[in-house]
């Protein structure tokens, strides 16, 4: 089983990202589970969402404390939240930033990877909505999910032009990260 933790701010679509990952992974033939760290947070507050992927049906219902992968939607969160908490050695922490991984002095044995997802999203989608771009990048970094599956999940969730543009951003981010895998 692989466990993923997503950090974001209210309104950034962290819960949607988790849900899309679960849908895409299931399409890939895995069992999946996605749930938010339920809160009463309003727009702007730090939020967390969780995803589990497994070859077998998933029964475990606790929150995730030792994630294999961490996705950080907004680099400013690094100062506020311990995004590296419990991250497993050999895993990845993927941060949306124009900075390099080395510029983050995270106390972790996991590998830090960065991508300027905001730029990718602005270039392709035309809006600074990074959640879909980041899960594309996640697939590129980890190889856990086929990019086509994520694209399909996004197209189904956002039919029409919006879905197509997001799908394009997913592929772009995937390619950028996959090339460096």
């Amino acid at each position: 089983m692989k466990e993923i933790r997503i950090h974001g701010r209210g309104g950034q679509g962290s819960v949607t990202a988790a849900e899309l990952l679960a849908v895409a992974a299931f399409e890939d033939g895995k069992f999946s589970q996605a749930f938010p760290a339920f809160g009463v947070e309003r727009r702007g507050a730090p939020v967390t969402a969780f995803v589990r992927l497994s070859d077998k049906p998933i029964r475990l219902r606790s929150q995730i404390y030792e994630p294999d992968y961490v996705i950080v939607q907004d680099a400013t969160l690094v100062d506020v939240v311990d995004v590296a908490s419990g991250a497993k050695p050999g895993g990845f922490i993927l941060i949306n930033t124009e900075k390099s991984p080395e510029s983050f002095n995270l106390n972790t044995k996991a590998t830090v990877r960065t991508l300027d997802a905001t730029k990718v999203a602005m270039d392709i989608i035309g809006k600074p909505i990074v959640n879909t771009t980041l899960i594309g990048a996640f697939a590129g970094v980890t190889g856990e999910i086929k990019p086509e599956s994520i694209q399909n999940a996004v197209r189904e969730r956002f039919p029409g032009k919006v879905g197509e543009k997001n799908a394009e951003a997913i592929k772009a981010a995937y390619d950028m990260m996959e090339a460096k895998r």
């Binding site: 988790a18 849900e19 679960a22 849908v23 299931f26 069992f31 999946s32 589970q33 996605a34 749930f35 938010p36 339920f38 009463v40 049906p57 998933i58 029964r59 475990l60 219902r61 606790s62 929150q63 404390y65």
Partner: protein, 395 residues
């Protein structure tokens, strides 16, 4: 089976199940974390996917009251609520069961105020245990979805005619996305018959409902409810099998065992914690710990015989309660299990652990600690008092 699955939110899966059960009247008031169910149902109504009267009432109290009227007219009725909303319904819950009106309600379990807390535990439905409502608890989203037609059929059975709650843990099940088979309309039509009560409010046959009973008849009204619960006990088993015949899924009837037959330590629990307990048992079994699980699906009626039978080889029993009977220092399941074993020759210690209140997470480590305590108790023969399993030391 997997190719029929789709990843949806728990609330959606349940709302879909309600839809295929074709209720005539739905009446509900929004409250977190039940909201997604009523929002999805409202959308079905808005899209013409469900042919019913959907009543946006001004309170939970009126939600249940309206269904009392609707059910007496002969309608199939549904509501969903949680926590404070369920507490607000309290008085009317007795009324629905006393009038033998088979209203079905999904309770999305949540803690009770004060302090105000929107997260999961099971204090809300447990607090309504003596209202004469059937209460079943689901382990995962699929079971929550599948429980819906089962509980309609159970409640509306002419030998039962009791209102019923299908309980699912708030957020943990209501807001999780996971693969689930959405119930098929044709299979549900085959499984669930029309609701055809013997007496209804009808000008052509003008009967009176809700008469005033004095000391010469009141007891017998209550006795008949108890008798109906006895019938329900048997039907829950039958329905689980009938459901399996048609849909091909089975969760146990009244109770369900996991690694139970040879287990010295038996963990008993209800609801979504079951999955975490199962994973913990797998891990502990690898270390040679003789531990198993007895899942309780039906809390009302309480399956006394089934529990006794399932526990016959146990050396020590642990109950997990997401509720607190304040003043008794144990949860309701613990009390029930102890009472079950009394007046038998079974002398098995029962240790009750209360945990997971107000949404406090239950990681596997918490279950491991609890099992360790039971192991220690078995070794030393020392008695362990029931109590809280996950209290913080720093507050």
């Amino acid at each position: 089976m997997k190719n029929k699955m789709t990843v949806v939110e728990g609330s959606y899966a349940v709302a879909h199940s309600v839809k295929v059960c074709k209720p005539n009247v739905i009446s509900a008031y929004p409250i977190t974390p039940q909201t997604h169910i009523v929002e999805d149902l409202s959308q079905f109504v808005a899209d013409g996917e469900i042919d019913c009267e959907y009543m946006n009432v001004e309170s939970e109290f009126s939600a249940i009251s309206a269904l009392i009227g609707a059910s007496a007219v002969g309608a199939r009725t549904y509501s969903s609520t949680t926590s404070q909303g369920l507490a607000l319904m309290h008085e009317a819950l007795f009324n629905a069961s006393g009038m033998r009106l088979p209203i079905v309600m999904t309770v999305v379990n949540r803690a009770l105020s004060a302090p105000i807390n929107i997260w999961n535990d099971q204090q809300d439905s447990i607090s309504q245990r003596d209202t004469g409502w059937i209460q079943l608890y689901a382990e995962d989203v699929q079971e929550s979805a599948d429980m819906t037609p089962q509980i309609f059929k159970l409640a509306e059975d002419k030998d039962v005619l009791l209102p019923a709650m299908s309980c699912m843990d708030g957020f943990i099940l209501s807001h999780v996305y996971e693969p689930v088979i959405l119930l098929e309309q044709d299979l549900t039509d085959e499984f669930l018959p029309q609701f055809e009560p013997e007496f209804i409010l009808d000008p052509a046959n003008p009967m009176s409902f809700g008469a005033f009973a004095d000391p010469t008849t009141y007891t017998e009204f209550r006795y008949r409810q108890e008798e109906a619960m006895g019938v329900a006990l048997k039907k829950i088993e039958t329905l689980a099998n009938e459901f399996n015949d048609i849909y091909g899924r089975y969760y146990g009837g009244l109770v369900d065992g996991y690694m139970l037959d040879d287990a010295e330590i038996v963990v008993m629990a209800m609801g979504s914690v079951i999955g975490t307990v199962k994973d913990t048992i797998d891990m502990l079994r690898k270390d040679g710990v003789s531990v198993g699980l007895l899942k309780v699906r039906s809390f009302r009626p309480f399956p006394v015989d089934a529990v006794r039978k399932a526990l016959k080889n146990a050396k020590i029993i642990i109950t997990l309660d997401k509720n607190i009977s304040v003043g008794k220092n144990e949860g309701a399941l613990c009390t029930e299990v102890k009472a079950c074993l009394h007046n038998t020759k079974m002398r098995i210690p029962v240790i009750g652990f209360m945990l997971g209140h107000g949404g406090r997470d239950i990681p596997m480590g918490t279950i491991v600690n609890i099992v360790d305590k039971a192991k220690a108790a078995m070794k030393t023969d020392s008695f362990i008092e029931s109590g809280f399993a996950d209290l913080r030391e720093d507050l």
